[in-house]
Symmetry: C2
DNA sequence: GTCAAGGTTTTTGTATACAAGAATGATGCG
DNA sequence: CGCATCATTCTTGTATACAAAAACCTTGAC
């Protein structure tokens, strides 16, 4: 399926919003972006529509498109939902996961471990996503898996910041181990609880998240 | 905030997809719809973008926009996710709900009861939505509330069909009572369980849902 | 009669043109 | 000197025009 120009633009704009090129409240100028991308305003506006639906832009009629970065409160809320979605995926996956997927899960986890030892944040980030994505899919509910993956992607830039904090990677690995054990033995509630705790933002992590926000706002 | 033409069109198309005017796989003709709505293709295409993002349309490049009604499997999956979202809302709301909201909840429930007695399906449908929406909001997590409301809306036409079945309204009312009791007494897990059960599709209800799908396909 | 190849016709995707509303700045009045 | 009002300019929203790709139809060969 070949892509439209508008799709590519949407992806690039999304990337810029995620990586902080645009700050919260920035107005995106149609004509300036259009000539920057070398297209007319039409495909650009289509891209705007998309990003607005994903919550990345706010389209105010007759005013323009404004970047909408989640604030502290919304971010906490999103992490809370993510924790619950992961918990549900885990609970279902504990009953439904295949042996093949379990093998892949352990493999992804080992890759994570190697990334931690090599202090390779990018590799950890990548393998961690694989780890979680397997659990989403093994929930046996592809709609759930899709929704979980969507939110995961949106929270990724913030998660990434969190991993910089000392000791977080190691702790995260221990949690992964616990999750794998619960899934291996089919303990649904244990898997749910482990995943919820793994993702949830609380206590010390909350302060880390606040720090993340400050650095992202600069 | 006044609306754009494109917004109104998106709403109307959404309505048509929900109420079954368009069947799964139907291709929406841009020019025909444009003259039908009395607009050009531009706002229509913007509306398409939206509906595609909500999963109601599939936009195949260079081919067109195709209506995408959820099939049996996807529908079951969506109900499963809805049940879990409601459960989470209930669990959080049990701890966070305000007295005012509890009063409103009881009020909505009484209106439901009256609708059942009057055999007024439309009224029941409306008050039931109010009942659930209060719980979403009282989760204290507006992101969660928003997501729950979004999915609720998407599933509404199917839920509506289900209520036609004999005895379902009465059973649903009993479940509402149980939910209210759990929320009143702050029993988080009980509220979660009651709401999950209330929404989940299982056993007999599954067959009803299948019947719904058949009638919707006609 | 069937199938394939090429051309014709639709239909989508993008660019441009135009219209209407919002922002901005200048000017006049208090 | 400050503020309000009006005109100008800019920006968005929509319509139209054009280009490219897909669907189709016809025609010809086997």
């Amino acid at each position: 399926m070949e892509k439209r120009r508008a799709d590519q633009i949407a992806e690039q704009l999304e990337e810029r919003i995620f990586n902080g090129t645009y700050a919260d409240g920035d107005r995106l100028d149609e004509v300036r972006l259009a000539e920057q991308f070398g297209v007319s305003r039409t495909p650009l506006r289509e891209a705007f529509q998309r990003l607005a639906l994903s919550g990345l832009l706010e389209l105010i009629p007759r005013r323009g498109a404004f970047v909408r970065q989640p604030g502290p409160v919304e971010l906490i809320e999103m992490f809370e939902v993510m924790a619950e979605l992961e918990a549900v995926c885990g609970r279902l996956a504990a009953l439904r996961i295949s042996d093949l997927a379990l093998t892949e899960l352990r493999e992804a986890n080992e890759s994570c471990q190697r990334a931690v030892e090599a202090r390779d944040a990018d590799a950890y980030y990548f393998e961690n996503e694989r780890f979680h994505r397997i659990i989403y899919q093994q929930s046996g509910n592809s709609f759930l898996a899709q929704e979980a993956a969507k939110l995961h992607k949106r929270l990724q830039p913030f998660r990434r910041q969190q991993l910089r904090f000392r000791g977080r990677m190691g702790q995260s690995m221990a949690e992964h181990e616990e999750i794998v054990r619960a899934l291996e033995t089919g303990q649904a509630e244990a898997a749910a609880k482990a995943l919820r705790g793994h993702v949830a933002v609380q206590g010390e992590k909350f302060h880390q998240l606040m720090a993340t926000l400050k650095s992202a706002a600069e």
